[in-house]
């Protein structure tokens, strides 16, 4: 906090104009984004950064978002538990180091100090490795253990600093007045350490609430914290609700700061503050009790899916009809899905892997058979999509939706007529091209650009890798979820993306045109699977059946803009969708479609190539 003595002087030191300018410009740079964010949170419009009028609409959206409340509850639960444990352990370490001299003290010191400056990512991956090895399922316990580990050292350092500055004559005075050592510790040392312990605890609490990186590696399906949710919102589709969430967080921070400042100024915890803190504690406790109580009543369903790949309205209807609370977490691609499941992330009830991944998941024992007899709507599924080679018995997966990767461009910005993947290598469009952030789709495009089939020839792969590396300077970035925003805003001219996104972009204006490249497109088919140890298998099956209901499938297709293999649903579709070539491509396209197959051992090489491309 600010020093108490003003050193304002007449010497002209620290008074230069340039100094002043730099300072105020920097402060403006620091604060203005937050202020603007707060202002924008009251924007009524759907776009994030264009002002359309005052409204508190997004706050009510946030307020009614059960997922978000769940994340807040998780965040506080984890922070409270880890703070308590970290404070106790950290204080113990400080007392041992400060009150007892022993050999190897320096070593302990160092082991304690290092965590305060080690990059968080190292914590993340090493703890992940440990949890996987000891088969601790990722969830609350793993996050709490991780948070305790990185915040404990900070508590120790803060308490130890106070202990080292402690006036030892106070201890002598106490002994002198007839107190024993333990009485001295109890009545003199501990009360005087209390402020340091408290600020250590506050520090630990803040670290825990704010942590993203370590939590990113150690979280499970049901234990997502607020920072994870915010990350997910930024990554998988920004909505103005994010502005409101952020504002709430900023206000929370400012309040906490003001409180801490008031505490510091009164030189301790005054009675009013004590009551305030106690009141806040009570509210938090009440919040937990209430939410816990309500949660117990409802059935849960945890989905792990691509972003915006199931209609939110449909989910709400399912929740209402069956009295279930549905939560959705997003993955970026099949590789992440597989990684997370392999890491021991448990708690998901339903996942949406692509065809080749179903085979891998099955072989790895990560999914379990579905009780198909309970799926009354299963006959609605086009039989051509059932019992394919990745799941011959058809018992591990139910087809969800299919589509392909193609291109879309803005005719206002590109006057040429584009027909080939080669357009993505065109110098003229430098920095105005987007590619998806998906290994298989990008590599496929590279193969087709060179006129190759995707086979297991390392030399071809080498050529493809080089072609894609050559292409990189032309790209703005690899992007999966924000492509629509980039295209509609005119920030990029041409994008490689999936047909669902293309459909959304096309509906945003006449200027957009879809290209189905003459070299052919990569077909994908996503499926619904139930992970092993899914806690709510029956609810998951209920949900599968719900989605396959033709009327529901139609409503879903309208939103996600991908085709579901439910022929009866077509009758319920509006014409704009039913006739969309982006959703239901013409037959000549289907003839050119390629389905990505699991490449077995060759996968390792593909992954290395992909890493290599990303790295360059």
């Amino acid at each position: 906090m600010a020093g108490n003595i003003s050193r304002s002087n007449d010497l002209g030191i620290g008074k230069g104009l340039l100094l002043k300018l730099v300072t105020y410009a920097s402060v403006l740079f620091l604060v203005s984004p937050l202020v603007i964010l707060i202002v924008l949170s009251f924007n009524s419009g759907r776009t994030v950064s264009v002002w359309e009028g005052f409204s508190t609409h997004w706050y009510s959206v946030v307020f009614h978002d059960a997922d978000l409340w769940g994340a807040i509850r998780n965040t506080f639960l984890i922070a409270i538990v880890s703070t308590v444990v970290a404070t106790i352990l950290g204080t113990m370490a400080a007392l041992a180091l400060g009150k007892y001299k022993f050999k190897g003290r320096t070593l302990v010191y160092n082991v304690l100090y290092i965590p305060t400056i080690l990059p968080e990512i190292i914590f993340g991956v090493s703890l992940l490795a440990l949890f996987l090895l000891i088969r601790l399922p990722l969830g609350y316990i793993s996050i709490i253990c991780a948070h305790i580990t990185f915040s404990m050292s900070f508590v120790t350092l803060i308490v130890l600093a106070k202990l080292n500055n402690f006036d030892h004559r106070l201890e002598e005075a106490s002994l002198d007045l007839g107190a024993g050592r333990w009485q001295t510790f109890r009545y003199v040392v501990l009360p005087n350490l209390a402020p340091a312990i408290l600020s250590g605890a506050l520090f630990a609490f803040t670290l825990s609430i704010d942590d993203f990186i370590v939590t990113f590696f150690t979280a499970g399906a049901t234990s997502a914290t607020l920072p994870l949710k915010i990350y997910s919102l930024i990554k998988f589709g920004v909505t103005p609700a994010l502005n409101a969430v952020s504002t709430v967080l900023i206000v929370f921070t400012v309040t906490a700061l003001a409180l801490a400042n008031a505490m510091q100024r009164t030189g301790g915890i005054s009675k009013i503050l004590k009551w305030t803190l106690a009141g806040m504690g009570a509210i938090v406790l009440l919040f937990f009790v209430v939410t816990f109580f309500f949660r117990q009543e409802k059935k849960q369903l945890y989905l792990y899916n691509y972003a915006e790949y199931v209609s939110a309205e449909l989910i709400e209807e399912f929740e209402r009809r069956y009295d279930v609370e549905v939560s959705v977490n997003y993955f970026n691609d099949n590789e992440e899905l597989l990684s997370r499941l392999q890491m021991g992330v448990e708690g998901y009830d339903l996942i949406f892997p692509t065809a080749h991944m179903v085979g891998i998941l099955k072989a790895q024992g990560l999914i379990q058979p579905i009780d198909t007899s309970s799926l009354t709507n299963l006959p609605q599924v086009d039989p051509r999509f059932r019992r394919l080679d990745f799941d011959p018995s058809g018992s591990y997966s139910v087809p969800y939706a299919y589509g392909f990767i193609a291109m879309v461009y803005n005719q206002d910005q590109i006057k040429d007529s584009i027909t080939s993947w080669r357009a993505l290598w065109d110098e003229k469009y430098r920095s105005n091209i987007l590619m998806v952030d998906d290994m298989n789709d990008v590599l496929f495009t590279g193969y087709r650009y060179l006129g190759y089939e995707m086979d297991k020839d390392p030399r071809k792969l080498q050529e493809v890798t080089e072609a894609l590396i050559r292409q990189k300077p032309l790209l703005l970035k690899y992007e999966n979820n924000m492509t629509r925003d980039y295209m509609v805003a005119g920030d990029v001219w041409i994008a490689q993306t999936w047909n669902g996104f293309i459909q959304q972009i096309l509906s945003a204006g006449e200027r957009f045109k879809m290209v189905i490249p003459e070299e052919g497109v990569l077909f994908f088919m996503d499926n619904m699977c139930i992970p092993k140890n899914a806690p709510n298998k029956e609810t998951a099956e209920l949900f599968i059946n719900f989605l396959l209901e033709p009327r529901n499938a139609a409503r879903n297709m309208e939103i996600i803009a991908y085709a579901m293999p439910v022929p009866a649903a077509r009758d319920f579709l509006p014409d704009s969708i039913r006739n969309s070539q982006a959703i239901f491509p013409p037959d000549n396209v289907i003839e050119h479609m390629t389905l990505f197959r699991d490449m077995g051992e060759f996968n390792t090489l593909l992954e290395e190539a992909w890493t290599r491309i990303k790295v360059r």
């Binding site: 002598e172 002198d176 007045l177």
Partner: protein
């Protein structure tokens, strides 16, 4: 009452306290005086039990307390910085010792009340230490120690943190208080004025040993060692040799400065080397030969310093040695005798003034 026998303390090769023997009587106000680092605080801390004696014994009322922990000794300390517990208010600080002894609640309240009044802290019971002045904190520290009615109260530089005026005031109160409570006080200070004013007896320490232990008057008037002579007050010291001793009067030949005689001293044998010591205020300057004084030496005024009540003269003897003489200004005014720099003068003093210290 408190007996310290052959007390010794060393840190490795560093001997801080060497073979100290002291006997302190009940109700005595005893002072340990010495420059910083002389070992006086270490003795105090060994009596309190904060430090372990390397060898030797500390007896309290006949019981050996050398190895008892601080909380088992019937001895309390008033710390230099007072060491008030910042987390307790005045009343809680004072009650601490009684509380630790599990004294009944009502008794604690009564005794705290009494001590608070005695220390003049009425109305401040609820204050926190940080909200009090230095003088008030000092009283709390005193009250906190006294309430336990220790057999010995140790005071570590209790007045050094106070302003001069407040320290003087407190000094008087402290002496008064000690008489009232009748507890043995052992007081450590580097301030000789404090020591001389307060103590019944003073032990002067240097380099871990006690140089002299006596009443303030004897310490001042009859220093036994060169260190004590030099340390207490102002002192002129001249090397010399006893030439003869006759009828209780010794004649001392000061090297090159002439002969002086003195009575009332330990009669050293003729021929011994001694240090002749005399306080500046015991000497008079005059322009004429000494009349009514047994001793007189020629000197030249080298500097003078007017300090209000007195004037300090630096005069040089013919042998070159510098002597300090302090004249009362009112006496100078009466006789209208002021001396200027460069003036030739006589330094005169009676044979009853001066002291011989063995070298």
């Amino acid at each position: 009452m408190l007996d310290i026998i052959s007390l010794h303390k060393s840190y490795g090769q560093n001997h801080v306290v060497r073979d100290v023997n002291l006997q302190i009587a009940k109700g005595e106000f005893f002072c340990l005086l010495g420059p910083s680092g002389c070992g006086k605080t270490t003795i105090l801390r060994m009596i309190a039990g904060f430090e372990k004696a390397t060898s030797g014994t500390i007896m309290l009322d006949g019981a050996d307390i050398t190895h008892l922990p601080p909380n088992k000794r019937d001895v309390n300390t008033m710390f230099q910085n007072y060491a008030l517990f910042p987390n307790f208010n005045v009343a809680e600080n004072i009650a601490y010792g009684l509380k630790m002894k599990k004294t009944p609640r009502q008794e604690i309240a009564d005794r705290v009340d009494k001590v608070v009044r005695l220390a003049g802290l009425s109305g401040l019971e609820e204050r926190m230490p940080a909200q009090m002045s230095g003088g008030q904190q000092q009283r709390v520290a005193l009250a906190r120690a006294l309430i336990n009615e220790p057999r010995v109260l140790l005071l570590d530089e209790p007045l050094s943190a106070l302003d001069k005026k407040i320290a003087e005031q407190t000094r008087i109160e402290l002496a008064e208080l000690q008489r009232q409570v009748g507890i043995t006080f052992i007081f450590v200070t580097h301030n000789q004025t404090e020591a001389l004013a307060l103590a019944d007896r003073i032990a002067i320490m240097n380099n871990g040993v006690i140089e002299q232990c006596d009443t303030p008057r004897n310490i001042y008037e009859h220093p036994r060692t060169r260190f004590v002579a030099d340390f207490i007050g102002n002192m002129n010291m001249l090397q010399g040799r006893v030439t003869s001793v006759a009828q209780g009067v010794a004649t001392v030949d000061l090297e090159g400065a002439g002969q002086v005689i003195l009575s009332q001293c330990d009669k050293p044998a003729a021929g011994t080397s001694v240090l002749f010591c005399i306080r500046p205020e015991r000497m008079k300057l005059s322009l004429l030969e000494p009349k009514g004084y047994e001793n007189g030496l020629r000197a030249t005024v080298k500097s003078k310093l007017y300090v209000g009540d007195t004037t300090h003269y630096q005069v040089q003897l013919q042998c070159g040695a510098m002597i300090k003489v302090i004249e009362q200004n009112y006496l100078l005014q009466l006789s209208n005798e002021f001396y200027d720099i460069g003036e030739e003068v006589f330094i005169n003093w009676s044979q009853t003034s001066g002291e011989l210290v063995h070298v």
